[in-house]
């Protein structure tokens, strides 16, 4: 049988695209190379009785419009907003974090009264930038080189959005987009710990340091999400991040969609310049009127399409697409909750992100190591213990700890990672935690260490880049992934891309998948099922 659409990869974007298409009446088949679905949004039992969110680990960016359109709560998705967090300082103190703005402000005042004042202004300014950018997430970027009415209308829409702001606000926004987060924070704050805490969102997942221009924009990328309408809030998916993709799969299947696990794609079948299906590694062909790839742009076009079928300029650009991985991850099963010396007993801070990097300078030095092809000797870690508020993931009293680590390069000084490198990397991270939580290592039951190498091998993210491509202006908006191909299409007719390599980029957001589906349906002249959620935009 032939499908209306064959989607390669059951990651969150592939499933989002599939669900929208299936709900519009298309017959859709998703093929997935692993024996499980989810891509980088998975819950896996890698140690008996313990569920790991072993890739992505927190949720905020997932677009609420998609959640409502696809009825994900009905299909079992529950996001538990978390509250708290702490940066431990080298001197044995800490800076606590709270979801409540005023609580945060009081905690800031403990470190700097001036910064507590500044925090109000800072939050207000950042929120304004967020409000400007959020509506763009769910729109196809216009092609500025085109004179088609649709592109011109979209550019005019952007112009009108800008016109809603004052001259000063536009200027401030342009500055913000092009600045480094370090410079930006210096304009508000004086305390190094506070700056170190606030800079975090600007570097997560990127190949930039906090002193790199453009890093402030990345901060926005992490702030424009929300949990139940609380902009900037983050939460855990109950049962691990796999719950997001499980709910998506249920929604997709409920609409008639089909998923084939253990079906790695060998190549994309092209006939007469059109994509007509995929050939699987197991020898089967899956035919469809169109193929939609949730793989990153490099993997899609350099590994699964015959280069001769593509224009030379396009291939050159795809080859030069920047997708350097910058992070690693430790997934740890714990016998008991760790005790951090600095925190008072019973402090709620353990429910959120725990950091040990107490200045922007330490963060930037960690980045310098990455630039020279080494993992950071003094890495930045975003440590979370979701089982503090989600008891479903481990046996009672035990805990799952997720440590997101920067920086880890895709190659070590130009050569591939070895197991010894990986173990040394893991040890560096464990040692750092032990320093702040003595006795921590004794509570460790199992550790999974993931470097960019493991991430690429398992999830298929080229060079282990969690965003399927770096988030710098040369790869954002109409430049993502390749100028002229930012509208989810490719040089091959009926071959589409829907992964995070496309606008608006990475994070468990779903927007690329939904936008790609919208373009497919637009071309197929089918309606896109939208909830009332759009009315509030």
């Amino acid at each position: 049988m032939s499908y209306d659409a064959v989607i390669i990869g059951a990651g969150h974007n592939g499933l989002v695209a599939g669900a929208y298409l299936a709900r519009a009446g298309m017959r859709v088949c998703v093929v997935e190379k692993n024996d499980w679905i989810g891509g980088a949004a998975v819950s896996r039992e890698l140690y008996p009785g313990f569920t790991y969110s072993n890739c992505s680990y927190v949720s905020s960016l997932f677009r609420p419009e998609i959640m409502r359109d696809l009825e994900l709560p009905r299909h079992g998705l529950q996001i538990l907003p978390y509250e708290g967090g702490a940066v431990f300082t080298e001197g044995g103190g800490y800076l606590g974090m709270f979801r409540d703005h005023d609580a945060n402000r009081r905690e800031f005042a403990r470190h700097s009264r001036r910064d507590a004042e500044a925090y109000d202004r800072y939050s207000r300014d950042i929120l304004r930038f967020c409000r400007f950018i959020r509506p763009m997430l769910m729109r196809t970027p216009p092609d500025p080189s085109s004179f088609r009415p649709r592109d011109l209308a979209e550019l005019a829409w952007l112009g009108r959005k800008l016109g809603e702001m004052s001259e000063r606000q536009i200027g401030e926004m342009v500055r913000f987009w092009t600045m480094s987060i370090s410079d930006y924070l210096d304009e508000y704050f004086e305390n190094p710990v506070i700056k170190g805490y606030l800079a975090v969102s600007a570097i997560i997942g990127t190949a930039l340091g906090p002193m790199s221009p453009g890093s402030a924009y990345v901060l926005l990328h992490h702030y424009m999400g929300d949990v139940d309408g609380n902009v900037g809030a983050w939460g855990y998916a109950r049962g691990g991040m796999g719950s997001v993709t499980q709910a998506l799969a249920k929604s997709f299947r409920a609409a008639g969609g089909e998923i084939r696990e253990g079906s790695g794609v060998e190549r994309i079948l092209v006939a007469d310049g059109r994509a007509v299906g995929v050939a699987l590694a197991n020898g089967d062909d899956v035919r469809g009127s169109r193929v939609i790839s949730n793989m990153d742009v490099k993997r899609t076009f350099l590994k699964h399409v015959d280069e001769a079928a593509l224009p030379g300029d396009f291939v050159k650009r795809v080859k030069a697409f920047k997708i350097r991985g910058s992070s690693g991850k430790l997934n740890i099963a714990l016998d008991a909750a760790p005790v951090f010396e600095a925190l008072p007993e019973g402090a709620p801070n353990l429910r959120g992100d725990l950091h040990f990097t107490d200045s922007v300078e330490r963060m930037e030095r960690a980045y310098d190591d990455w630039k020279s092809g080494q993992f950071s000797r003094d890495p930045f870690q975003d440590v979370m213990i979701p089982t503090m508020i989600d008891p479903t993931m481990t046996p009672p009293g035990k805990h799952f700890m997720s440590c997101f680590v920067q920086y880890a390069p895709p190659k070590i000084a130009g050569r591939d990672w070895t197991d010894a490198d990986r173990d040394a990397f893991g040890q560096t991270c464990l040692d750092q935690i032990e320093k702040y939580a003595p006795g921590f290592k004794n509570r460790v039951l199992h550790v999974e260490v993931r470097t960019p190498r493991e991430l690429e091998a398992e999830v298929g993210l080229t060079e282990g880049n969690i965003f399927q491509g770096e988030l710098t202006f040369d790869q954002l908006l109409f430049n993502r992934p390749v100028p002229g191909y930012a509208q989810y299409r490719s040089p091959i007719r009926d071959l589409w891309i829907c992964g995070s390599s496309t606008h608006p980029g990475g994070g468990v957001m779903g927007a690329p998948g939904r936008n790609a589906a919208a373009e497919v349906l637009r071309e197929a002249k089918l309606p896109l099922g939208m909830s009332d959620a759009y009315a509030v935009l």
């Binding site: 500025p144 080189s145 001259e167 000063r168 536009i170 200027g171 342009v174 500055r175 092009t178 600045m179 480094s180 410079d183 210096d186 304009e187 930039l208 002193m211 790199s212 221009p213 453009g214 300029d313 030069a320 920047k322 300078e361 930037e364 030095r365 310098d368 630039k371 020279s372 710098t472 202006f473 040369d474 109409f478 430049n479 100028p483 002229g484």
Partner: protein, 486 residues
């Protein structure tokens, strides 16, 4: 009774250009200079390209300005396998790739050049300004669809990625990285670094050396200004801008002398002008805060060596611009420590040997990057360390240079600030970076050269389009003043 129509503060390249242009519009112009006219230009040793409006408008050729033929660049190799690069041509394996890249970047630079020669538009611009912008926009679109898209992709990219994508030779890559970051506070891997190379290219493809060096340029510009009718006063340091009835109405010199004019134009740093000479009490609090946020970190040191005889850089042409920047990584590694106020082990640099061109005692002039603008170890320690590391780099490329050296002087960014008044030792009187460009330079409220204080204008490198011995900022400011007050 004011006896002048305009007082211009600072006789650098922009002050001279601005004063001359205003004087030619039959205004009586007094140009005040704390030291000697054009003194600050001594900091430079090459000219990327004078703004043609300045060169022609001041008729500098008639006042004795001539240039040596455009300099080629030799990228030094520690074992003598140098690369020679000049105007789109390089030897070695990258000849074709470099030519193609240079052609593309030059085309981009050409369509961006008109922006250098205009007052940055207000975002709430009147119709005529948008018309002009639309024409410039169409000029960019006329590059063709492919190139237009490439420009949009590359406009904020980092130079390291471009060098590594397009070229294979480490020395040529290193040169690209060096040229883009020269005078900036960015490493080649910092996004927004390529645009600085485009800015440099839009001034001219090859650096120029005036016959007689930069002092000859200063002399020619001074003579030209005098012949336009500008009155120049040397050793006249302004202590204060006089504000009366919320208007700038004159200046007070450090000697206590008052001078009055209805129009005051400052070609020195915007921060110094507004925060020190005017003072926050005459300014809006928010404006003062934003002004204090203007970043002005200098990252370059200036080295001056006196020599017994000209050195041998392993056979390199001493009449070329010599660059030590062995790779992109080397440039980046030289930048890393200054982020933390430390001195790099192996700085990169641009070397000029003026005595290979003009008769005179053998000297070596180098701009050395990167030097910390506020060294943690203290200025004297950092300077000594920077000098030692620089000389070691030089010795590697020119063995025996140390023995030929009779004197060495290194100016750290703080020294440059102390000697020439540039805040933070930054040549551009404020970093030239995307968030401080065009309508954001030096900051939004003063980007059209007019400050919020009536009667006070800016005309220095701190304003659009920045510094670099071109005179464009001064000329733009003068044109704007003439237009606004015609």
């Amino acid at each position: 009774m004011p006896s002048f129509d305009v007082i211009v503060i600072g006789a650098g390249v922009n002050g001279l250009a601005c004063a001359s242009h205003l004087a030619r519009q039959s205004r009586r112009v007094l140009l005040l200079e704390a030291g000697q006219p054009g003194g600050g230009m001594a900091l430079a040793h090459l000219v990327p390209g004078l703004d043609p409006r300045v060169a022609q408008g001041m008729d500098l050729a008639r006042h004795g300005l001539t240039f040596h033929p455009a300099l080629a660049t030799t990228v030094l190799h520690p074992e003598g396998r140098h690369r020679t690069v000049s105007a789109g041509h390089c030897d070695g394996p990258d000849t074709a790739a470099y030519a193609a890249l240079h052609r593309r970047l030059t085309a981009f630079a050409r369509v961006l050049t008109p922006f250098r020669q205009m007052t940055p538009p207000r975002l709430t611009a009147a119709g005529s300004e948008w018309g002009r912008l639309a024409r410039l926009g169409l000029g960019i679109r006329a590059l063709g669809k492919t190139e237009f898209r490439e420009l949009l992709r590359m406009i904020l990219i980092n130079v390291a990625d471009v060098a590594e994508d397009e070229l294979s030779d480490d020395l040529v890559r290193g040169l690209l990285a060096f040229d883009a970051t020269l005078g900036s506070w960015l490493g080649p891997r910092s996004p927004n670094s390529l645009i600085l190379l485009l800015n440099r290219l839009s001034m001219g493809a090859s650096p120029l050396l005036p016959k007689g060096g930069l002092p000859a340029l200063a002399g020619a510009m001074t003579r030209a200004a005098l012949s336009c009718g500008v009155t120049i006063r040397e050793d006249a340091r302004v202590a204060q801008v006089v504000v009366e009835a919320d208007r700038a109405s004159g200046v007070t010199l450090t000697t206590g002398e008052h001078l009055y004019a209805p129009l005051i134009v400052s070609a020195i740093s915007p921060k110094t002008t507004l925060l020190s000479l005017v003072g926050p009490r005459h300014l809006d609090a928010g404006f003062t805060t934003r002004l204090s946020h203007v970043r002005s970190r200098g990252g370059a040191a200036k080295l001056h060596l006196t020599l017994r005889t000209l050195p041998d850089f392993r056979g390199a042409d001493l009449r070329s611009r010599l660059v030590i920047a062995p790779s992109v990584t080397a440039v980046e590694a030289a930048f890393n420590p200054v982020k933390y106020g430390e001195v790099p082990d192996a700085p990169v640099m641009e070397i000029v040997l003026p005595s290979a061109h003009d008769p005179g005692p053998p000297v070596l002039s180098a701009i050395v990057q990167f030097a910390p603008h506020s060294p943690k170890a203290g200025l004297d320690t950092a300077r000594a360390q920077m000098l030692a590391n620089t000389l070691r780099q030089l010795e590697t490329c020119a063995p025996g240079l140390g023995a030929l050296t009779t004197g060495a002087r290194l100016l750290m960014p703080q020294d440059i600030e102390a000697e020439f008044g540039m805040v933070g030792g930054n040549w551009h009187h404020g970093e030239l970076s995307v968030e401080q460009m065009l309508f954001l330079r030096p900051l939004q409220e003063a980007a059209q050269y007019q400050t919020p204080l009536p009667g006070l204008w800016l005309a220095g490198a701190g304003s659009h389009p920045g510094g670099g011995i071109t005179g464009a900022a001064g000329w733009n400011a003068a044109e704007r003043i003439v237009k606004e007050r015609a």
